[in-house]
Subunit: 594 residues, 2 copies
């Protein structure tokens, strides 16, 4: 359920009684599916007028005071029984962890990790994989099956499980859910569902720690990130990812190439298919839900970037370009793509086919290199689907507004409506430190036109690694873009959130405005800067106009005078109403005490 049935009491036993005992504000709630272990979390906002609004919730068990969480133990494996019950997977010994998985020299002792906490201390587990063939949501959907995950998503999106299944079966949507990541709350990415937002985290060689990354992940989902990509480079990649996965209620994406490159000490030409494949299996066993694979960067496309203003700006793209150049061979990702499909199918890892040649500047948008690669991604999408692998397609980048629509239209045509997953796009290059905004503009537009998931950009883009505040700003900006797109697409129920907030605004229910806001804390803080006193939160005015005159109040007078009376001839009615208005004292403003 999104907002379609918002503002009415829940059906079901005890729901009304429960609502009555809850205080004003917002609280974690659950909507039950057809089985007791299918409880879909929602954010329930209780209004001062007795109504309530139910919102999509990505924050996981961390916002449920009735659930004790411990980052050292990890989250409960919500989906484990569903996966086991399907009977098509098996546990196995798995690939042993090696020092180089954490970026340590092959010969070094494991002394690089002095801090015990750096090794994830949770319950021991063996990896799981498909016993025979694809164990993917796509394969189930193609066979007509509705999984528990699909039903969970249907409840979340307020649609039928059959619709979810059909969208997945058609390749128009993906439900990223590695069998080794049972902790996630299933979600879906597709243009006929709510627009989703991804937040990137990840340490680099220069800065950041494991603890910070886990904290960034929970913080990002707290504000609405639907998925998180761990883009760590440098040391402790494997261990950081383990901590993130075991504590994440949302799907986790990675770029395996980054870790593979660490294993060859950053020398792209030393990369091999074997090292890459081993890294993919390592990550699949840990539970990574989707992987960016830059298999569309072909040898013959590399020279197309030579005269670009900013060349290749994708790390993955430039690594593969360097490899192709060094060996004068076709990309090992492209050459081994079908084998890669089989690996991903056996864990239900979703492809995110990377746009390694995306434009890094306004000047380079929509050029030959970019669209040549897109065409190849279309071919790879068809192959992946044939192998039962869920697939989405990554998109740009830096694109001026008038060139954005061509991107989504071409992608949808070439990739058979596979979900598009774009980075912004940034609509100008001139505002470093504000690229959440330059890109939020492009993100809203491309999502309106059909992009299914938006990869956030933070204020630190191009300048440094995002800190906690940057992560929040990036997520909030992109939730705005996503919701603006949901509205423009006419997504069922999307506008009820806006309507509830606007009703609260018109009726001066300040506390309701704050609680309904995308960021209640900041909205309340901004209001309190000017009018901090508690009575101001019930005042029938705000600091913009002050108590002496208020346009909202006049509108309320007009509504009182004319609201129910529009069938009457306006002119005739007006004369009478004018007298009434005068008799009532022509009150166009409120005394402070009112």
């Amino acid at each position: 359920m999104t907002l379609q049935d918002a503002r009415t009491p829940e059906n079901g036993q005890g729901a009304e009684a429960q609502a009555a005992t809850e205080q004003i504000g917002w609280h974690k709630g659950y909507i039950s599916g057809s089985r007791p272990d299918l409880q879909v979390p929602v954010r329930r906002v209780h209004l001062t007028n007795g109504e309530h609004v139910t919102l999509y919730d990505t924050s996981g068990p961390y916002t449920d005071p009735n659930i004790e969480t411990d980052v050292r133990r990890g989250l409960a494996p919500l989906r484990e029984n569903w996966i086991i019950a399907r009977g098509d997977t098996e546990e196995y010994a798995g690939r042993p962890m090696r020092p180089e998985d954490d970026g340590l020299k092959h010969t070094s002792p494991r002394g690089g990790l002095k801090n015990l906490d750096a090794v994830f201390p949770g319950r021991p587990r063996q990896p799981r994989r498909g016993r025979d063939g694809a164990v993917t949501q796509l394969a189930y959907a193609q066979r007509g099956e509705i999984t528990a995950e699909m039903e969970y998503v249907a409840v979340r999106e307020n649609c039928s499980p059959e619709f979810v299944r059909d969208e997945i079966a058609a390749g128009r949507a993906v439900l990223p859910a590695n069998v080794n990541h049972p902790e996630i709350e299933p979600m879906i990415i597709g243009k006929n569902f709510l627009v989703k937002v991804n937040a990137n985290i990840g340490n680099s060689a220069v800065t950041s720690s494991i603890e910070e990354e886990v904290e960034k992940m929970t913080w990002a989902t707290r504000w609405g990130a639907d998925t998180v990509m761990d883009l760590s480079t440098g040391r402790n990649i494997h261990t950081t990812r383990e901590w993130v996965l075991r504590n994440s209620p949302v799907p986790i994406g990675t770029v395996p190439l980054y870790q593979a490159l660490e294993k060859v000490d950053g020398k792209a030409e030393e990369l091999t298919w074997e090292i890459y494949k081993d890294t993919v299996i390592e990550q699949a066993e840990q539970g990574v839900d989707y992987m960016t694979v830059h298999a569309g960067v072909l040898l013959r496309y590399v020279p197309l970037t030579a005269r670009r203003k900013t060349g290749i700006v994708s790390r993955g793209g430039s690594i593969m370009a360097a490899w192709c150049l060094a060996h004068h061979k076709e990309s090992f990702l492209y050459e081994n793509f079908e084998e890669l499909c089989d690996i991903l199918a056996s864990y239900d890892v979703t492809f995110s086919l990377g746009d390694g040649l995306r434009p890094g500047s306004i000047a380079d948008a929509n050029d030959e290199a970019q669209f040549a690669e897109l065409k190849t991604l279309g071919e790879l999408n068809t192959i992946a689907k044939a192998h039962g692998v869920q697939t989405m397609i990554e998109g740009p980048g830096h694109v001026p507004m008038h060139k954005i629509k061509e991107n989504i239209d071409l992608q949808q045509e070439i990739c058979e409506e596979a979900p598009f997953y774009t980075l912004g796009p940034l609509t100008t290059d001139i505002a470093p430190a504000y690229d959440h905004i330059t890109s939020g503009i492009g993100a809203a537009m491309i999502a309106w036109w059909g992009t299914a998931m938006l990869c956030y950009v933070t204020p630190k883009e191009h300048l440094g690694l995002p800190d906690r505040d940057d992560v929040k700003t990036g997520v909030i900006t992109y939730k705005i873009a996503a919701h603006a797109a949901d509205l423009a697409k006419g997504h069922p129920g999307a506008q009820e959130w806006d309507d509830a907030l606007s009703d609260a605004r018109f009726e001066f229910r300040w506390e309701d405005q704050f609680n309904l806001a995308l960021d209640p804390d900041t909205a309340r803080a901004f209001h309190d800067e000017t009018l901090p006193a508690e009575p101001a939160k019930t005042a029938h005015f705000c600091s913009m106009c002050g108590p002496k005159f208020c346009s909202m109040k006049i509108s309320q007078d007009i509504r009182r005078e004319h609201g129910g009376d529009l069938s009457v001839d306006p002119e005739a009615g007006m004369a009478e109403k004018s007298k009434e208005f005068a008799a009532a004292g022509n009150r166009v403003y409120l005394p402070i005490a009112d």
Copy 2:
């Protein structure tokens, strides 16, 4: 000149020598027109590679170290000689200032202003007005004359003075320039020029002081505001405005109705045409360049708002609606519109025909009330033009993305392409505290489609009065929207700014990136948070990837290998280049010291 001839030395005597002696960074510069007193300010960015970029500059004399400014004296009257030389205006005694002009009781002594500074201490002046008929830029343009102001604007916009004249004559552009505001640096608002940004300032009954408002004005123009509206209410309106006008290098707009309402103690029904007219003359004599007039709120439209979710949210609109209701009479602004035109024409005050019935929520967008008023604004636009009064049309408000284009298309059709001046629009209601972003999205889109000026929205919208930081955030956000639109419209030269910054980014010229940024201070600060040391500003990597691997570096390798060589068969060339690449050590990353 905007950016068209950027990055080449200025023509003219000594320009190269001057550039050579200037240090790296950005500096105030001037471009000469055809006469010595026509010096158009620019922001000149000197790059570390010896090139320079010239940018549009709104910051006035405050950023010129060679000009001494004193807010107690005001700015030099740049246009005074031009106005006098035209010989069509005269000085006169003017309307005496009255206590009620500053919101004091008619009978009160002037003791309300204890602080001497509250009275503007600059040079005494008499107001000026047209001796006979319109003294407007529109009237001159219609007669085929090119004024000094038009030439100034042509230099600023890098087009011919004839083009400026023709756009003004056609009513497609306005050049707001009250004869009593000689301090301004002329600028133009029209869809065939750079998109402009307005910043609102103004105290209210609840908070703020004169000093703060003057400071906000200079601060807003420092970051790029093209005009400033003083929306003060409460006390000291007249005096605040005097301080703002005398110190403003940009056109100042107001809503005279706000002050008129103060004069009748906030009782809308006590407003009269005489009080309003007197207020307009008071403000025109002070030098207000454009005035928002809500003359389109007609009696018969008021009931159309009764069933809206958020009624009338425009203060001006609700004041006029209340007046119409109380008297059951047609709006005195509408009834006396032609007389108002004659007044504005004699000072060259530009109309900003207000959209008093603009939607205040997503639910109310593009409704009958809004478009009924727009039609009336179209009629008034025609009347104003016939009286020689420059006119722009205000627009919404809160509009979801899919309903934005209809707004600009209808406005352009109904109002004969008169400049559209919109508030955002906000594309969703759910993000109080982030409405600079919800509206920046809509602003960029509607500007792309033809809106000439964007009224900024700050993070405090709906919550409180903006402080200094909010003003900056609002202006920067809207400069992004405006520039993104300039790019999408293909405005000549707009992309050169992006290109210069992207070149600097690709070549790791960090200082150049900062100096070219819309907000150099914040860009530099964000970079320094992660890599504070001075050498990092010349480092060939950034904190995202770290020194070990850098995609930009790989791209540079590719360019070096293939940049000049695209005529060669790529496949054949690649084999050879591959060998060269290997011979050069397959270097795909840089040692830190490199």
